[in-house]
Amino acid sequence: MIYLKDIKKSFNQQPVLKGINLKIGKGEVVTILGPSGSGKTTLLRCLNFLEKPEEGIVQVGDIQVKSKKATKREILSLRRQSAMVFQHYNLFAHKTVLENVMEGLIVTKKYKKAEAKRESELLLEKVGLGDKHNYFPSQLSGGQQQRVGIARALALNPEVILFDEPTSALDPELVGEVLSVIKAIAQEGITMVIVTHEMSFAKEISDRVLFMDGGVIVEEGSPLEIFNAPKEDRTRQFLNRISRDFSVSFLEERAN
């Protein structure tokens, strides 16, 4: 239900995506890993055309867009198929928590205000922020803001939720609360594409893992395959580097 064909993208003459082909089925949770500069975030942002690929076809649900001929209307339809959770939350700063979640419902899904309010209150309850309806984003911690961001995405009931390094900007002690919310959602069968550096989290919730490097998908497979028996050298090197850091912090935690 997500289909990418031959996606190519360059920044300043430098190719960042060198021909990506990908199929994601309904209900799948796919994690994209890779070093910085690998193109993983760019790929994610092509799914909702926040980055416009130069070539290739993007299809989410029933909406297919050919990059070269993409019209404004097509892009808008495509964007309405998905919802994104941003690394820096990007909550609407001038609206309360409740209003943030309601905004998409009212404007895009044309809900009446009362209905939108009811839905939003339930969602905020679900992410553990039922008591913070009238707070402004500036009054919340990073973890709380991100959970609002997740509620905002959920409200739209999209075909897929896109997560752009959802915990990278958080203080370490706040990461856990956000990850548990994402885990809970994954278990409900919502299609998700996640770009993250949280390896154990990726291992736990993914149906499939993609490893990207230098603008191509180097390897993909189940978490077991990728983490325990990677086929490619590059994948192995990357995982070794990460797990070295991972085991160091793991040991530190044990020592404490």
Binding site: F11, G37, T41, T42, R45
Partner: protein, 235 residues
């Protein structure tokens, strides 16, 4: 209403008017230089909160920023002679040019003071701490470390303020100064081609402003050449 509109006159008038551009620029230069002195002094009084003088400066700045430049021109024009008569100085015959320079100097001084005050406060306090830690006293750390950096921070706003002052000088003719506008008025009286004269003047002012902006931009790049450039993180 007057004779028919003649576009070629616009070009014809330019040399006559440009001749008096010098007067306009003189007013600007003198009032900016004096204004700098006043501005830095006032900013120091504000930043270091020297008692009594601080309040006086606050009032002065508030008044200048609270009244139209035209009113300030008239107040200086009618008020300065009155005040000086109290100490028996008679300047009633002084050339209007000096009244104008004094008015604009006071006006610029107030604006510069606010800009410098902001710029001084914007210099990271860590700089002062570092200065103390290498043994400087208050005035050394201020004049050698803080003020030079403040001037660099203040530069864009000062540049804008100077351009604003250039535009303000267009009002000097109302108290009889023979600058560009003044010459324009006599030209209008002589030829009745008001629109063409004003178009010439507008062209000259526009050209001078663009020139100033260009010069300021170049200078700003020069004084900022040692600043580090932020590297943006690509997503």
């Amino acid at each position: 209403m007057g004779k028919a509109f003649d576009p070629s006159l616009i070009v014809d008038f330019i040399p006559t008017l440009i001749y008096y551009l010098g007067v306009t620029l003189q007013i600007l230069a003198a009032s900016v230089l004096l204004g700098m002195v006043i501005g830095i002094a006032a900013a120091i009084l504000r930043v270091f909160r020297i008692p009594v003088l601080n309040q006086f400066v606050i009032l002065y700045i508030s008044f200048i920023r609270g009244t139209p430049i035209l009113i300030q021109l008239f107040l200086v024009f009618y008020g300065l002679p009155a005040i000086l008569l109290f100490i028996n100085i008679d300047i009633s015959r002084m050339d209007a040019l000096y009244f104008v320079i004094i008015t604009y100097a006071l006006s610029n001084g107030a604006h510069f003071a606010e800009i410098f005050r902001g710029a001084i406060k914007a210099v990271d306090y860590g700089q002062t701490e570092a200065a103390y830690s290498v043994g400087m006293n208050n005035s050394q750390s201020f004049f050698r470390i803080v003020l030079p950096q403040a001037i660099r921070i203040a530069f864009p706003n000062i540049a804008n303020s100077i351009i604003g002052s250039l535009k303000d000088t267009s009002l000097a003719f109302t108290i009889g100064v023979m600058d560009m506008m003044g010459r324009g008025e006599t030209l209008i009286a002589a030829t009745a081609h008001a629109l063409e004269v004003y178009l010439s003047l507008a062209v000259i002012y526009y050209a001078v402003v663009l020139l100033f902006e260009k010069i300021f931009r170049l200078y700003e790049n020069r004084i900022n050449r040692h600043q580090s450039v932020d590297v943006s993180v690509t997503g």
